[in-house]
Symmetry: C2
Subunit: 189 residues, 2 copies
DNA sequence: ATTTTTAACTAACACTTGTTAGTTTGTTAT
DNA sequence: ATAACAAACTAACAAGTGTTAGTTAAAAAT
């Protein structure tokens, strides 16, 4: 087995195309053309178009879930936990922006068990974050504003980082992380 | 001409469907079914599927553009300008969340001149916001962090508000606006 | 009362979609 | 040298796509 086999290539090429036009607008012929082969040849490596979507989304969703569980279990302050969540999002965004775009925009095209599984992971993830913030407010580490506003303003920024990937490429990773923490935690005034 | 004629109905129904599954995944038969008519009947009112998308997106994009131009021209502090931008996003989100979702996710399916026009409005809008922030930093009203980080953390939160529409419905508009300003401007610590 | 308009319909079109079957070719293992 | 495999190909299909043409029935305008 080669390090990046043909199947992985298909997944990566597809993620890029899905990012640009969305899952439904990308055809198997589009994917094939981007790889310089015919559409039917794709089926030597993958089972269906849907399988490509699953491979792109589920793996990365599981990574978010696993690291979030580590963060929740760790014995650090709420602020520090949030900082680790920020790092997590930036890490994954820098490593795989195409897959993240796909996860954000095309998750609803997952089917059956994959869809259920994804939604459960997403709900659990949000609930974990909510608990971190809730604890932070209780311990007076975090300001006592409406908790949903805090959660969605933070998460929506982190989730859509991939859109700004091109611009953030000019910043290095460390500076991006420290600036992001200051902006999200201390505000801009 | 009735207050909401059949064409407007089609646009509204379509926006809702586009929000759920994306422009490409929604068929004319889907739209027709949601209106309890046959697909061919839609063409008594609209020219094409593409026209529906244009009607949904361009009007709302122009509203953003117009109000942003007013804000830029007004003689108020940078902070106050940003607060007015926050109000603008919340106003439009509460009034028309479906269209906003569509604008955010499906703008790339606009064609030719509509696509060019939209991209120009979007770039101009971002540039206007960038200038507001830049001025704020110069006048020491805003903290001197990387300007792109400030811009995208603020705008990405405002742009994806529609996702949280259901949850924000429990808050009233005034509280949502004041909480959002505090979180975005002063941070959460 | 007659014409025009509105808004629905049925039927069909040309094209695109994801996918399958069967075949071919070059590479790897025996 | 031979067998097995990997990965491409051509050809085709059944279903679904946006859209057009022509028709019909009720409402509005004359």
């Amino acid at each position: 087995m080669k390090i990046t086999d043909r199947k992985t290539e298909i997944v990566n090429v597809s993620a890029k195309l899905f990012k640009e036009k969305g899952y439904s607008a990308v055809t198997m012929r589009d994917i094939a053309q981007a790889m310089d082969i015919k559409a039917a040849s794709l089926y030597n490596h993958i089972k269906s178009k849907q399988e490509i979507l699953v491979l792109i989304i589920i793996e990365i969703a599981e990574e978010f879930t696993n690291v979030m569980n580590e963060i929740v279990a760790s014995e650090i302050s709420s602020i520090h936990k949030i900082e680790r969540v920020i790092d997590l999002h930036i890490d994954i965004t820098l490593r795989n922006p195409d897959a993240l775009a796909c996860l954000n925009n095309d998750w609803m095209h997952l089917e059956d068990n994959d869809l259920k599984y994804f939604i459960k992971m997403r709900n659990d993830y949000e609930q974990s974050f909510r608990n971190i913030v809730k604890n932070g407010i209780l311990k007076n580490e975090i300001v006592n504003l409406n908790i949903e506003v805090i959660i969605f303003s933070t998460l929506s920024t982190l989730r859509t980082l991939y859109i700004w990937y091109d611009k953030t490429k000019s910043l290095n990773e460390k500076i991006l992380k420290s600036n992001m923490k200051k902006v999200l935690l201390n505000g801009i005034i």
